[in-house]
Structure formats: structure tokens, C-alpha cells
């Protein structure tokens, strides 16, 4: 199979096309610009739709329209743009429409900077807009994983009729790594009998998130809740490194997990039994990864490019069974492997 050297943003775009994405609607923002640029070149050539919208708000609502019409559709943006899209994401979740939303996170709050950050964890995993809703969130840490998850993201979106977000960062988007586009066997996906395509040969289809009767709205919310619980039971993904014997675990995702992996190697060389838990889905959060190692885990160190967002989920997962420490760098600053290694030593020192 052909191996290509590609930037994360471009590899993601190519994967989306190969996964059958029919249309893209987006608005320019750094650092994800290569993604729409690639799609602008390639989509029309391959008979797909590319449209640069007038705003992130318009873009996500175009996604809503296209998803409601039954198309496989995506958008991409970065922190500030995702904030603007949150209203639309709430509507997509309320109306149960499938789509892929890519968030190549930058430093915040406000306009922040364009450096790699992970400070959108809350707005990705806690809904982010109004109402009780969740989006499935994938956090790849290599270009190959980015590509592989695009196929799954579209499929899970269709299976659960729910938006799926891929949460990346500037490094992942700009980084070049070898990538192979594996043709995966297509999953059996439910037919989109609910799509508004014109009512020929059937009754009227309506796409809406409005339930003025509180009894009906509650029923609708319970239905969504049941779906979210199914997703939590079935779709958690994670990777554990040195899970067999490690006592001190770093918990990190995305690019941070790569740096933490280097720190783990340093710790091992220094005789510390260190391991890594790398959540691949941030929602649903892989609590089982913690349960699996709890009998020998002495402490956990959460490492983030933010000031303590994922740590909430780590603490909920550990649930008081071991101490949880934190190390983070905000605003687009990236820690070195040495920084994390030092934190591992501190964790070991504090929890003997």
C-alpha cells in the first residue's frame, strides 16, 4: 500500500474525501487553513461540494441543511470559530443530524494566539452550547491516526445520528508523517429515511429541535440520553503504554501524549515504572483504562496544553482511588519531554 508523507491537515482532508464526504462548508481561520485549501482544490474535481461561507455561523448552518438533506458533510475550524459554531452544534444535536466537525485548537481565551493548545477540551466534551447534549470527540495523536479516525468519525456520526468532533492542534495539523490510506470495509450504516429530500413516495419528513410541549421535550431528552449512554458503553477508545507493570501514569491526549511518551521513555531509563494512558475518545471518556490499571497504579499525572480541563475526567475516572497530579502549559506553550519527566519524578516523590 502506498505510503505518503503528508501534513495532518491535508491528510485529514484527503481522508474525508475518501470516506465519502460529499460537501464541506467552512470559514478561514489559522491553524487549519491547509484543510479547506486542499478541499477547495480537490472537492470540485471529484464532483463534491466545497463552499466558503460568510462566517462560521453560516458554515455550521449549511452543514445542518446538508446533513438534514442526507449528505455526508463536514466543517472545520479552530477555537474561536468553534465557539461561534456551538449554537449550530446544539441544533445539530437537538435535531440528531450527523456531521464531522474538525477543531484544530489554538491558544485562547478570546483571540488568543495561533499556537497549539488543548484549551477547547471543555467546549468539545461538555456540549459547549445550550442544552443537554454531547458530541463524540476523537483526539488523534499522529497523522495516521487522524486519517483512520476520519472514516470512523463519519460512520459513528451516521450510526448515532450525532455530530462527531475531531480535536487536533496546530502541530498535528502542520506536522508531516507517513500515512497510508487503508481501504476499510464499509460498515453497514442505517438508511437515512429521515432526511428531507422531497416527500416523494413517503410521508412528510421534518428536521427540527423544537418541542414546545415540555412532556415531549423531556421524552426527546431522555431519548438523547439513552443514545449517549449507548455511545459511552460502546465507543470508548484509548491506548495504554507500559500498562503491564507501570505504577506511575501520565494521562495525556493528542500531541501532548506524544511528548509525554518521550518523557515516559526517559523515566523508564531512570528506573521509574512509568506508563501512559492516552484517551483517543475524550467523550465518551475511557474510564475503563483507569479501572484496568488501578490495582498497581500509585499516582496519575494529567498533562495538558491547558490549565486543568481534562483533569476533571481523570479525577472522575480515578474516583479517589489514587492521587491525581496536574501539569499544564496554557496559551499555546508546549512543554518539553524533560519538563514532563521532572513532573513524573515529583509525582513519584510525593506519592511514595
Amino acid at each position: 500500500m502506498e505510503k505518503l508523507l503528508m501534513k495532518g491537515n491535508e491528510a485529514l482532508a484527503e481522508a474525508a474525501i475518501r470516506a465519502g464526504c460529499q460537501c464541506f462548508f467552512g470559514y478561514p481561520i489559522t491553524p487549519q487553513s491547509e484543510l479547506p485549501a486542499y478541499l477547495a482544490r480537490e472537492m470540485p474535481k471529484r464532483g463534491r461540494v466545497f463552499l466558503q461561507a460568510e462566517s462560521e455561523i453560516a458554515a455550521i448552518n449549511m452543514v445542518y441543511g446538508a446533513a438534514g438533506a442526507g449528505a455526508r458533510v463536514m466543517t472545520s475550524s479552530s477555537g474561536p470559530g468553534i465557539s461561534l459554531k456551538q449554537e449550530g452544534i446544539s441544533y445539530l444535536c437537538g435535531a440528531e443530524l450527523p456531521c464531522l466537525i474538525v477543531n484544530i485548537v489554538r491558544g485562547g481565551p478570546g483571540l488568543g494566539d495561533i499556537q497549539p493548545a488543548q484549551s477547547d477540551y471543555f467546549q468539545a466534551t461538555r456540549g459547549g452550547g445550550h442544552g443537554d447534549y454531547r458530541t463524540i470527540v476523537f483526539a488523534p495523536s499522529s497523522v495516521q491516526e487522524l486519517v483512520d479516525l476520519v472514516y470512523d468519525a463519519f460512520d459513528l456520526a451516521d450510526i448515532y445520528r450525532n455530530p462527531v468532533m475531531i480535536l487536533g492542534d496546530g502541530i498535528l495539523g502542520q506536522m508531516m508523517e507517513p500515512v497510508v490510506f487503508r481501504e476499510k470495509p464499509r460498515r453497514q450504516l442505517p438508511p437515512k429515511t429521515w432526511a428531507t429530500t422531497g416527500k416523494k413516495g413517503r410521508g412528510q419528513n421534518i428536521i427540527t429541535s423544537l418541542y414546545l410541549d415540555p412532556v415531549k421535550l423531556e421524552q426527546h431528552n431522555w431519548k438523547l440520553d439513552k443514545k449517549y449512554r449507548e455511545i459511552m458503553a460502546r465507543e470508548c477508545r484509548w491506548e495504554v503504554i507500559n500498562g503491564d507493570d507501570a505504577e506511575y501514569f501520565v494521562v495525556a491526549y493528542g500531541i501532548c501524549a506524544r511528548i509525554a511518551f518521550s518523557a515516559i521513555e526517559m523515566a523508564r531509563s531512570a528506573g521509574v515504572k512509568a506508563g501512559l494512558i492516552r484517551p483517543v475518545t475524550l467523550w465518551p471518556y475511557p474510564q475503563k483504562a483507569f479501572d484496568d490499571v488501578m490495582n498497581r497504579a500509585k499516582a496519575f499525572l494529567t498533562v495538558e496544553l491547558s490549565l486543568g480541563q481534562m483533569i476533571d475526567d481523570v479525577k472522575l475516572s480515578v474516583n479517589g482511588r489514587a492521587p491525581v497530579y496536574f501539569y499544564g502549559r496554557p496559551g499555546g506553550m508546549v512543554p518539553t519531554a524533560e519538563d514532563i519527566f521532572n513532573e513524573i519524578l515529583k509525582m513519584k516523590g510525593a506519592s511514595v
Binding site: L5, I114, I171, M176, R258, F261, S262, E265, A337
Partner: protein, 186 residues
Amino acid sequence: MKLETIMAGFGGQGIMLMGEILAHSAMMENKEVSWIPSYGPEMRGGTANCMVVISDRRIASPIISHPDVLVAMNKPSMEKFSPLVKPGGLIILNISMIDDRPARGDVDILEVDAGKIADALGNSKVANMVVLGALVGKTGIVDKKTVLNSIDCFLPSHRKSMYEINEKAFIKGLELMAGVTLKGVG
């Protein structure tokens, strides 16, 4: 085996391309590779750098704190990155643009008059290929043929006429390694 390289210089010196060709060559020889650029406000006009990691194992961090090899194409790059090079590492200097030398006695320093060599070949822009040749010649990290193939891959179709001069520049760099004296502890 793991080789971590930082390449740095002015925007326009072909720093990114040099890194991409190195990473691509290594990939073609079935090694694990990663390449990341510096980017952001300083992307145009200022210094540009990229980091290339080549390994026979899964690559952990693509971000390099202490490179095995530094390629410095101008003085600010040398000043910024030479203190970070691992003891026993290698610094390749484009002395056409650098009148100073790093204050390191614990690394190999390879001086390449890349700008001058490129000019002699007829295009100052291929200085990057001269340096790449020197790097490959010194480290042997990838095969010469693979690199020539990768150079061909990375030349855009409207620049294919440039292949020959890029090849020549790369070979010149390689040949420099025959009989060169390294300064430093080596």
C-alpha cells in the same frame, strides 16, 4: 537508531523543503519519520525552522529539545539553536552566511560554503541541497539514490527543469564529505 535534526535559516532558503526531502527519503527507506515546521507570525521573512525525526521505532515526541544534528543556514539560527545540540552531536554551518562560530567544543562542526558552491553551479537557491548532501554524506542516514528520488518527487511539475541543478548541488555536498576535517571533538 534515532536521529533528531533541526534545520533553520531565513525564509526563502528552502529550509522546509530540505527537511521534507530528508523525511521523505527516510520514509521511502521504511523508517519512521516526523516533520514539523515552525510557523506563526514569524513565518514570512524572519527565521524559519523545521524539525525532522528519523527512527526505526515509533516516534514519540516530534518536538526536538536537543537535536543530534543542527543545520544552520544563517547566523541567527546558529545563535538560537547551537547551544541546544546534544554533546557529541553535529552542527552544519552554511559559512557563506555565517562569519562567527558556535562556542561549543563538544560537538562536530562542519563548515560548508554552501552559498558559494551554489552560486558556482549557477543558482544560489540550491545552497540547501548542498547542505543536505553534506548532512547525508556525514550521517549516512539515508541512501544517496533515495534522496535523488525524493528531490524529484518534491519538485513541482513547473520546476522539473530544475532537477539537474538540484541533483548537482546535492552531489557536491556529498562529495565534500570526502576528506573533510571536522572541527570539534568528533
